[in-house]
Amino acid sequence: MKKSINLFGKTCIALAVGALAPLGAHAAVDKEPLRIGAVSSVSGVFAQQGEEVLRGIQFAAEEANRKGGVDGRQVAVQVADDESTPEAGRRVAEKLARDGNNLLIGAIPTSISQAISQNLERWNALYVVVASKGDRLTGEACKPRMFRTNHSDAMDMAMFTEWMKGVKEKNFAVIAADYAWGRDSAEFFAKQAKSLGKSVPVSLFPPLGTKDFAPYIAQIKDAPNVDGIWVALAGRDLIAFTKQAKEFGLTSKRIIGHAAIMDFVVKATGDATKGVWGNIGYGAEIDTPANQVFVAAWKAKYKRVPTENEGQAYNGAQAIFEGVRKAGSVKPADVAAALRGLSYDSVYGKVSMRAEDNQLVLPSYIGQVKVVDGQPRPVIEKRYDVALVPAPNGSCKLK
């Protein structure tokens, strides 16, 4: 009895392999698989964004496998939780890499990405940044094995500078988180506003973890003639401010958010973000053939369009795939060498990985939160060509 089952089983396998062989699936079995180590925040303050990033990566892997793999290789994804801290990020990334999942991707904040990037050579790994925006990752802290496929702060700022020329509001209030990023953002805005002949009569810097923004909102309302607000807050503070700004009727002014109109913020605040403007890293509206295919496939699976983080993560995974295809290898050193300076077709259209600092050069987008199919979500209103992307500032020295 046992023998007959074995024989039957073997026959089935033989038949199955025979049937699949013309589709090229045998190659996917033969070649070394493409092993992605997805390190992002499953717990901690960045968990919501981490969830989106991981979903985007998984989707890219599943899609690639359905099409017979990448360069004839199966794509495998191993996930690890960086607990929203740089220490844990470094630790789990090393574990992933040493276990062979050495094509790393996925952390949310710049601090974690930077922690992961320190020892890539020693771990025999490569890392793709898909959500961290800090300029230093492609500036003084750049690494030959780290690539960024999303927009940097400098790119967002260049786009805002261009867009602000068409903004008619004259007097702005600035509310920014009281740490390096918020302060930098406020300083940038004040400089731009001044050069465009606008004034910034109120600048407020609530400490991180502010729960009740009423005292700050009262100051903005109290300032005469303020008709616009530049918001550079993060995470929960941003959510609390947005909700309370609506309660106090501040939303009648033009609100411009720096990295503010993200999906999780919109979801958490309901219609309070409606009409808020901001930079958008990825949107389903991007009009390219590759993006239309991606959005359609995503909609078929999740019954909704992909979010900014999901799209950015998908795009990052595609960069790894392109590198592997070009290199014909999954060895991180080979893939990194292939990616450097590579031009390829992406969901953003034709993009190129700048050789000087490993920053993907891609178009920029600005938009506002609108209600689409009954749900508020960020919608791209304007696209800026890659000509607007600022040149590397020279602080990145890649070996």
């Binding site: 009740d212 009423a214 309660e247 009727g249």
Partner: protein, 283 residues
């Protein structure tokens, strides 16, 4: 401008009144430094979210404290009472463990997303106050704080049970020798304290945002209130809560650079002046 700042301070102060009175009550009777109080507040907010989305805000405001009260009874029966003769440090560790369990529970049940509870229709409008339109809900928050403070004061001052609570807080042994069942009384007080944490959660839900890390936001402020007011003292906690609300709101406007440290400066100053807090050990 100053009057609107004082108003804003009152709103947050009122929330702290509800929050910290529970903490003070539990400490007063059980001598438990309840680190899980913040997570109970969070649990209350999330329960409120679920109840409010199926019924409405007002049902949630009644149902959540009741549910949380039951949880408080269980908490006293199965955690605080068995541990009452142990080293206080053990109890602190247990409440800290409870905090971690509750945070994980909330993440498992409700997910990691930030959620929001809309203000009830009755209070969703804006009201003109001191020349500025403020959300009516914020006025209601002050009202809720006053009601809680008033009800607790009346209960402790004028009811028999309140007399027992005051007695047991100062002299538990003698009180039980007089025939008062201190264990049962403690169960009741922990239930009330937990219910108040839950009530604070549902009050906060429409104007602060719900997230699994919301507990740490208020628990530190609540401890500052309770220590400043005098550990275990309810009237001290009321005064300290209102003062802290003012310090935060007015400080954010006039001393923005020092806004984060002001509550601790206040606490230090009060403790230097009166080491046992405003009210000392009196309930």
């Amino acid at each position: 401008m100053l009057s609107i700042n004082i108003f804003n301070g009152l709103v947050y102060g009122a929330l702290l009144v509800v929050m910290s009175s529970g903490l003070a009550l539990i400490y007063g009777l059980r001598r438990v430094v309840n680190f899980a109080h913040g997570s109970l507040y969070m649990l209350g907010a999330y329960l409120g979210y679920t109840v409010a989305s199926h019924t409405n805000f007002w049902v949630a405001q009644v149902a959540v404290p009741l549910l949380m009260g039951l949880l408080g009874l269980a908490l006293d029966r199965f955690a605080f009472r068995p541990l009452q003769d142990r080293d206080p440090l053990t109890v602190i560790l247990v409440t800290f463990g409870l905090l971690l369990v509750l945070e994980d529970l909330v993440q498992t049940v409700w997910g990691k997303s930030n959620l929001s509870v809309p203000a009830p229709d009755l209070l969703s409008a804006s009201v003109d106050l001191f020349g500025m339109s403020v959300p009516a809900y914020r006025i209601a928050v002050i009202f809720f704080g006053l009601v809680v403070a008033g009800a607790l004061t009346l209960w402790l001052r004028y009811s028999k049970m309140g007399l027992f609570v005051r007695a047991a807080s100062t002299e538990p042994t003698i009180t039980s020798m007089q025939g008062v069942n201190v264990d049962r009384l403690s169960g009741l007080v922990v239930a009330v304290g937990t219910a108040l944490a839950g009530l604070a959660g549902i009050i906060a839900a429409p104007f602060l945002s719900l997230s699994p890390s919301m507990s740490s936001d208020v628990i530190i402020d609540s401890f500052v209130v309770v220590v400043t007011g005098g550990l275990g003292s309810l009237s001290g906690a009321f005064a300290a809560a209102l003062l802290l609300g003012q310090v935060q709101a007015v400080g954010a406007v006039y001393l923005p650079e020092f806004a984060t440290v002001l509550p601790y400066v206040l606490m230090m100053a009060v403790l230097l002046w009166r080491p046992a807090g405003f009210a000392g050990n009196r309930v």
